[in-house]
Every structure is written in C-alpha cells, then in structure tokens.
C-alpha cells in the first residue's frame, strides 16, 4: 500500500531541538508561569487595598466597575440643553430625514422671539439603530450620541419611546462628546 496515501506537507519543519519536545515543554511552561506570576502579584495587590487598575488583567468586574468608554462610543442619542435652559434643537427635521429606520418624528413650532423649537420631539428607542446619522446631520449640535448604555432595555415598548423631556441632557454633561464631534467629525467632512 506504499504510495497509496498522499503525504501532506504542513509547511512545518521542526529542528532537532524542537523535536526533542522536552525543552520546548519547559519553554512553554515558563511562558505560562511568566503570565501567572505578574498576574498573581497584581491581583493580590489590587485585592488588598489597591486600585482596580492595579490588576494587570483586562477583565472588568462589570456591575461594580464601569469601563471607561472611548469618546467615539455611540450610546443613547440625546438632545442638548443649552446653558440658558433651552434645547438647542431648531426643529429643522434633518435628523428625521437622515434617520435610516425613521425613529425620529418632530413637530416644529416658533417661540415669541422668533426662534424655532420642536413642540414635540419623539425618538423611538426600540427602533433606533444607534448609527449616529442624526448627530452627523444636525447643524446645531442639538442631538448627540451620549455614552449611556444602561437602562435602555425594557420589557415593554411604550417606555422606550422617548419624548423631549426624556431626551434633554444639559450641555455640561456632554462636553466630551461635543469636543469629539468638533475635532473629529467636522475635520473629517471638512466643514
């Protein structure tokens, strides 16, 4: 039967030292130990009165510790409440148009001083796909993607339909994202 089978060349050629196996076993065990010892030291240090960041392990104890999200993270879309207490939105409807799943619906109105504002601004969180197009479309920096990712799920669809009050967030809390938009997005699209 010799020659009846095809010999597969896996492209692996081992030196004699590697084929001895035993030295390579020791090398592998030492690599594993090299991971164990620093991790052991750092975890013990973090446990006894150290900071969580003392752990050299990437894992985050989630409910107790929260991850630091990158500024590009797209969480729940929110409306920006300017420092004078008004929303920045002028009800132009660009976000409504830009929204791929059509989850935003706005009814615009006009204040006595002539500025426009949304009478109702409804964002259906159950439909939103967190794409951030509304943020890109907005000419007023009025709707931005926040870093909020908790409490967005409900057992019922009704509470997921956010009205204006549920969406408005003070501008001070969104400076990080607003800075990011100005720095990155405007630079990218060359406004």
């Amino acid at each position: 039967m010799s020659g009846a089978y095809k010999k597969v060349n896996r492209g692996v050629t081992l030196t004699l030292w590697e084929r001895l196996y035993f030295p390579e076993v020791i090398r592998g065990v030492l690599i594993a130990a090299g991971h164990f010892v620093p991790n052991f030291v750092s975890v013990t240090k973090a446990y006894f009165g150290g900071k969580p960041s003392d752990r050299k392990i990437m894992t985050i104890y989630y409910p107790e510790e929260k991850p630091v999200l990158p500024e590009a993270y797209r969480g729940k879309p929110v409306l920006v409440r300017a420092r004078d207490g008004r929303g920045k939105c002028v009800a132009c409807g660009l976000c409504e148009v830009a929204c791929p799943p059509k989850c935003i619906s706005i009814v615009g109105g006009q204040r006595e001083d002539g500025t426009r504002y949304p009478v109702t601004y409804v964002l259906n969180g159950a439909v939103c796909i967190f794409c951030g197009f509304c943020e890109e479309a907005c000419p007023e920096e009025a709707i931005v993607m926040s870093d909020r990712y908790e409490g967005l799920c409900e057992y019922d669809r009704k509470p997921m339909v956010y009205d204006k009050e549920a969406l408005l967030v003070p501008e001070e809390k969104l400076t990080r994202r607003l800075d990011y938009i100005r720095r990155r997005m405007y630079g990218k699209w060359n406004y």
Partner: protein, 372 residues
C-alpha cells in the same frame, strides 16, 4: 490501664503511645488529603489557570460581600454536588456503576500511607516515625495501589452502558498499562542508587543536598514525571476523558457525589504523585544544607523533647511546602500543554520512555560499577 483492660496481652505496655501516634498520623494525612487538598485544589485549578491565561477566574460567590478570592466557590460546588440527582442510566450495571467511584478514590487515599512526611523523632522516649506504614516495599505499594484505581475507571466505563464511557475506559486501560511499565522501570535507577525500596530510608539518604534524587537520577526524574502525568490522566495525557472527543470519557454517566469522587480521585492522585516525587527526588522532608541534627541544635534552647517537636514541625511544613510547589508545577503543565493524540501517547510510552528507562538503568549500573 490495667483496671480498664484486664487480661495479659490485650493492651501490652507501650502500645498506647503507638496507638495514639498511629491515629494521629492517619487523621493528619486524612485531613490533609480530604479536608484540605481535595476541596481546595478545585479552587487552585480555577484560579491558577485563570491567572495563567490573563483572566480573573471564579469570584462571584460571596457571603455578605466577602468573596475571599473566590474560595467560597468550593463551598457552592460542594452544595451543588450534594443536592444534585444521582443519575444511573438505563441499562447500566447498577452494582458496578455504584462501585466504580469508590474504587477510583480509595486507592488514591491509601497510596499516601507509605509516603513519609517527616523523619524519625525521639519524643519523650517514644520513637516517632512520621509515616503511616513503613513498608519495606514502599514504592511498589504505591504502584500496586495506583493500578487498582485504574479498575475504578475501567469499571466505570464498562458499567455506564454508554459508548463514550466504554471508549474512555478502554483508553484508560491501554494508557495505564503502557505507562505503568515505563514508570516502574524509570524508578529502578533510584532503587539502585539508594539500595532500598523503603521510602523512609530513601528520605534519610537524601539528607545531603547533592544526594537528592533529582541530581543522582535526572533522566529517571524526567521519565517518572512524564509517566506520573500519564497515570494522573490530566491534560497532556487526558485521552481517557478527552472532553472534545468523548464528552467526559469514563465518567460521562456520573453525576452528583459520584462525579465528585472521580474529580476528587484526580486531585488526590495529584497530591500522591507530588508526594512520591518529593519523597524520591526532592529530598522528602529534608531542607537543603540544613540537617536534622543542625536544626535540633538551633532549637536546643527548648530542651531536648520540645526541640525534637520543633524539628518535626519544620520538617512536616517543608514536606508540604514541597508538595504544594509540585502541585503548582503539575497544574502549570496541565494548563500549558495540549492533549496528545492517542497514537502519540502510545508511541511516547512504548517507543521513547520505555527504551530510555532501560538505557537509564544500564547507565546507572555502569556508573555505579565505575564509582565503586
């Protein structure tokens, strides 16, 4: 004593201290194995493997917010296993199915009887020898008993009426047969060098650091630890239970406490292997460069008897520290190496380790002849 136990030879003089000594030793070894190592090694395995792989490991179980490094998972494991249904599959051989875990776990405990965890001490005129059974065939007893635990796995595989279990059982039989031979031959060199099979004598002979088994028999040590890993049925040699091939091998059809017993047998075997390794190759209870007499002089201010007690405690602590180190190394190996293929296991056993152990015997004999 005579009042309580009348009659000539029922309770001869000097028997009470021996009895107390024996009971103390048995209880000590039993608690160490069943009370400390069997439950704790599960935790050690989880945590060590986690840290080796840059993970954190089990840490969710807590009492009032205290997780104690995930130690409480041991407790929850125990509760879970105790309250689980004890399932016996249809068509299983019920008596054998019941018997198998016991056959697996008991030898692992018994084998520790001949391993000395300390030297000989003269306590208040009573000679104390820190080994439960000082047999003159010491190591052979370990081999014999370890082979019996193989029956547990084979019977479990047969009695479960499950294809995976049967395959696992067959693999256990094949693997144990192959490695038992090589394991015995790998240790012949040690017996030749020390001229005895008695583990206490081997321990005494290793008082000089340079006479430790690892220096006199380096090849024998490598061969023995390889065979011991194979006997332990843990990862590089875990083809009998190979999860990805055989679900859980011979204990696929076990649940609850019986499953826990197989699990415990594995850990206890690991302790026993570490014990044999320490006793044969790593100087047993001896501290490098510090003889028992020197230690006794160091503790001389306590008076002769208490000094002996102190020396005894130090030696016992050193022995268990060495065992812990070896368990650490065995775990490192287990979580580093991938599983061998079946033919690789057989090839390694019969074509590499067996000839090498024979060569080791030959070379040892030649060297001894030349040195003498």
């Amino acid at each position: 004593m005579a009042d309580i136990f009348p009659g000539p030879d029922i309770f001869p003089a000097g028997m009470l201290p021996s009895l107390v000594e024996m009971m103390a030793k048995i209880i000590f070894i039993f608690t160490m194995n069943m009370g400390v190592f069997a439950p704790l090694l599960g935790w050690v395995e989880r945590k060590q493997s986690a840290l080796m792989q840059d993970r954190i490991g089990a840490n969710r179980a807590d009492i009032l917010g205290f997780t104690v490094f995930g130690l409480l998972h041991t407790l929850t494991d125990a509760i879970k296993l105790l309250t689980k249904e004890d399932f016996i599959p249809e068509g299983a051989d019920r008596p054998l199915h019941y018997l198998a875990p016991f056959i697996a776990v008991v030898p692992a405990l018994i084998a520790f009887a001949v391993i000395p965890f300390g030297g000989q001490y003269d306590l208040w005129g009573h000679k104390t020898n820190l080994v439960i059974a000082d047999l003159d065939v010491g190591v052979l007893f370990v081999f014999a008993v370890a082979s019996i635990s193989t029956y547990g796995s084979v019977i479990a595989g047969w009695a479960s009426n499950n294809n995976w279990s049967l395959l696992g059982g067959v693999r256990v039989a094949a693997q144990m047969l192959s490695y038992e031979v090589a394991m015995g031959l790998a240790l012949v060199g040690i017996f030749m060098v020390y001229g005895t099979l008695r583990l206490t004598d081997i321990g005494v002979a290793q008082e000089n650091f340079l006479h430790w088994g690892i220096f006199l028999q380096p090849l024998g040590f490598i061969l023995f630890i390889t065979c011991a890993l194979a006997e332990n049925k843990r990862t590089p040699f875990d083809i009998p239970e190979a999860e990805s091939e055989l679900i859980a091998g011979y204990f696929t059809e076990y649940s609850g406490l019986k499953f826990a017993m197989f699990w415990m047998a594995e850990f206890l075997e690991m302790v026993t292997i570490s014990g044999v390794l320490v006793a044969l190759f790593f100087g047993g209870w001896q501290i490098p460069f510090v003889s028992g007499a020197a230690l006794a002089r160091l503790f001389g201010f306590l008076g002769p008897n208490l000094a002996q007690v102190a020396v005894m405690l130090v030696h016992v602590a050193v022995f268990w520290a060495k065992i812990l180190l070896w368990i650490f190394i065995l775990m490192l190996i287990r979580w580093t190496l991938p599983r061998f293929r079946y033919d690789q296991v057989m090839k390694l056993g019969w074509k590499i380790i067996l000839p090498l152990s024979l060569i080791n015997i030959l070379v040892t004999g030649l060297v001894m002849l030349l040195v003498k």
